[in-house]
C-alpha cells in the first residue's frame, strides 16, 4: 500500500471537542454533523488536520488526546468521504506524524485558504460517529 496516496473511497476522521464547543447540527435522520466552525483553519495553517481511517481508528484518534494531557470525556469524531472533499476542489494529503501515522490534511488547491463557503459545504458532508462506532470501528474498516 502506497500510504502517500489517499484514495477517493477512503474515510477521514477529525476530532470534535466536547459540548458546548462541539457546535454540531442535527440531521434529518436523527444523526449529527459538524458545523463549519470545527473545520476552519487557524491563521497561517496550511491544511485541516484529519486522520485516515485506513490507518487510524476513531478510538486511536481520541486516545491521542491523552498524550496532550486531555481527558477524552465528551469528545466526538466526525467522518468525511475523501471523494466528497475532492468534489469541492480540495485535496487530501497524507502527512504522517510521529504520534499518528494516518495523519492527513485537507488542503485547498487554490486559493491559499479554506473559504467559508467551502468549510460550510464540507461540514454538510460530515457525520458524527456514534459512541458505538467509536468503540467498534477498527483502522482499515469502512463505515457509511
Amino acid at each position: 500500500m502506497n500510504v502517500t496516496e489517499v484514495g477517493s473511497d477512503e474515510i477521514i476522521l477529525r476530532r470534535i471537542p466536547p459540548p458546548p464547543e462541539n457546535a454540531i447540527q442535527i440531521l434529518p435522520d436523527g444523526g449529527y454533523r459538524a458545523t463549519s466552525f470545527r473545520l476552519r483553519l487557524r491563521d497561517g495553517e496550511l491544511g485541516l488536520s484529519c486522520s485516515r481511517l485506513a490507518l487510524t481508528s476513531p478510538r486511536a484518534l481520541l486516545d491521542q488526546l491523552r498524550l496532550q494531557g486531555t481527558s477524552v470525556d465528551g469528545w466526538m469524531v466526525c467522518r468525511l468521504l475523501v471523494a466528497d472533499v475532492r468534489s469541492l476542489g480540495l485535496e487530501v494529503q497524507h502527512i504522517p506524524l510521529t504520534n499518528d501515522h494516518g495523519h492527513c490534511e485537507i488542503r485547498p488547491i487554490s486559493p491559499s485558504t479554506l473559504d467559508k463557503n467551502l468549510t460550510s459545504k464540507l461540514a454538510k458532508k460530515t457525520r458524527i460517529l456514534t459512541p458505538e462506532e467509536i468503540e467498534s470501528v477498527q483502522a482499515g474498516d469502512t463505515i457509511p
Binding site: 457546535a23 458545523t35 476552519r40 487557524r42 488536520s49 467559508k116 463557503n117
Partner: protein, 148 residues
C-alpha cells in the same frame, strides 16, 4: 430609499417597537421587539462560558477567544434578539479566537464570525442564493436572517 434601518446595535435599541421598510427590488419588513427575545440570556451565558477556553481547546491548536470579540458578539446578539423572527443561533468559538454564530433550518444556513475589530464575516446559503462577505453593517445580516 434607505434600507439600513439598523446600522448598529445602539441604533436598534433606540428603534421604535415596530419598523418597516422596503429595499428597492423586494419588500423587507423588519419588526423590532420592544424587549429582547427570551433566548438572549442563554446566549449571554454561552458567551461567558467561552471566556474559560484554554489554548488548544480543540486539540488542533485553537486560540482562546478574544475578549473584545466576545464584547462585539454580545452587542450583536443583543441587537439580533430585538428582531422578530430571528431565532437563537448556535454559538461557538472559532480556531482563530473569534466568536462564531450559526443558523440552519434545513433549507437555509448562515455562519458568521465576529472578530476583535467588530467585523462580521458571513456565509449565507439558501434556495439558490449564496453569499460570502464581510461587513460591520448589522442590517445586512438582519436582512438575511429574517428570510429564515
Amino acid at each position: 430609499m434607505n434600507n439600513n434601518i439598523i446600522e448598529t446595535p445602539e441604533q436598534l435599541t433606540r428603534t421604535s417597537t415596530y419598523s418597516a421598510t422596503a429595499s428597492g427590488t423586494g419588500e423587507v419588513l423588519i419588526a423590532v421587539r420592544s424587549q429582547p427575545a427570551a433566548w438572549l440570556r442563554d446566549a449571554i451565558n454561552r458567551l461567558d462560558e467561552m471566556t474559560q477556553l484554554k489554548p488548544n481547546w480543540d486539540s488542533y491548536g485553537a486560540a482562546p477567544v478574544d475578549g473584545v470579540a466576545i464584547q462585539f458578539a454580545y452587542q450583536l446578539l443583543r441587537c439580533l434578539s430585538r428582531v422578530h423572527g430571528i431565532e437563537r443561533p448556535s454559538i461557538t468559538a472559532t480556531p482563530n479566537g473569534q466568536v462564531g454564530l450559526s443558523w440552519d433550518d434545513g433549507t437555509r444556513s448562515m455562519d458568521l464570525d465576529i472578530n476583535s475589530r467588530g467585523r462580521i464575516a458571513y456565509y449565507y446559503e439558501g434556495r439558490g442564493d449564496e453569499r460570502e462577505s464581510e461587513t460591520s453593517n448589522v442590517s445586512e445580516v438582519v436582512e438575511l436572517l429574517t428570510r429564515f
